[in-house]
């Protein structure tokens, strides 16, 4: 049976690599990596600012640095509110109608 000597064959390729291909490729890859690194750095800075802004916002809400803060009514001010009877007295006929309809609907 015929045999073919593969080992005796040249390792050359029947194709050619374009001239300066590897140098151009190196520059392209390095440029792309540089761009990705820059984008990564920018994203980190934005994330850092966002975190700082969040921390500052939370601090503003809870620490009242300017003496303001949230206007949460205390018990005394709640007790001074208009009584429920007073509210009913001030209602118009239409408002009372809506109220009675809602009460019936919710079974109250």
């Amino acid at each position: 049976m015929k045999d073919f000597d593969l080992e005796g064959l040249s390792r050359e390729m029947p194709y050619k690599m374009p001239e300066h291909f590897l140098d151009d490729m190196t520059e392209r890859v390095v440029a792309q990596i540089g761009k990705q690194r820059k984008q990564h750095k920018e994203r980190r800075i934005v994330a850092l600012f966002a975190s700082a802004a969040s921390v500052a916002a939370v601090a503003l809400l809870f620490l009242h640095p300017f003496g303001g803060g949230l206007d949460i009514p205390d018990y005394d001010s709640i007790s001074q509110c208009t009584s429920v009877d007073e509210l009913f007295q001030n209602m118009t006929a239409d408002e009372l109608g809506v109220y009675s309809m809602m009460s019936n609907y919710y079974g109250n």
Partner: protein, 180 residues
């Protein structure tokens, strides 16, 4: 520069670009030919090599000096080549079904003055299943040991030897059948 020094530079954020240049200088050409033997067309090899180098940068933290740098680079290049072939084959075909179209590309891509036997050899390689093709190319062209091929491809040494044996047989048969 040694592979260990290049790997150290690659993991140092201030020297990544220098490391990539050194890798391209030392391994750019063998990686290009490794990819080209898999995908045949120069344009495809160009895309794969670029993607390989970007992945080297992206996944540099996963490199472990347990294996040689060259094996890691070849592994990434092999995966990129297979990814391109997989995309080309689509959902309905496997990479191994691309043999005929890759074989046709060999003649289209060959230089006008290329030796006919070398073209036949590349045609025969193009027709091999992907695994046999990888093993044959790494052993025959890149002179890799079975241990190195194991680090790149992942199969056991015995399986690799079997793949190589079958690949050689198929290539010889093809050349004998088509040689004038």
């Amino acid at each position: 520069m040694s592979d260990e020094s290049i790997a150290r530079l690659l993991c140092d954020d201030n020297h990544v670009e220098e490391a990539v240049r050194l890798i391209m200088k030392k391994y750019g050409e063998p990686l290009y030919w490794h990819i080209r033997r898999m995908v045949v067309a120069h344009d495809d090899a160009e895309d794969c090599l670029q993607e390989t180098m970007i992945n080297v940068y992206k996944y540099r933290s996963t490199y472990s000096n347990e294996y040689p740098l060259s094996s890691w680079l070849y592994k990434i290049a092999t995966n990129e080549s297979l990814k391109l072939l997989k995309n080309r084959s689509g959902f309905t075909m496997s990479v191994d079904d691309l043999g005929d179209s890759l074989k046709d590309s060999v003649r289209e891509e060959a230089s006008p003055d290329a030796d006919e036997t070398l073209i036949l050899l590349q045609e025969a390689i193009a027709l091999l299943p992907a695994k046999q093709k990888m093993v044959f190319n790494l052993r025959y062209y890149d002179d890799k040991s079975y241990e190195e091929i194991h680090q790149i491809v992942g199969d056991s040494v015995n399986t690799l030897k079997t793949n190589y044996h079958y690949a050689v047989q198929k290539i010889k048969d093809y050349i004998l059948e088509h040689q004038l």
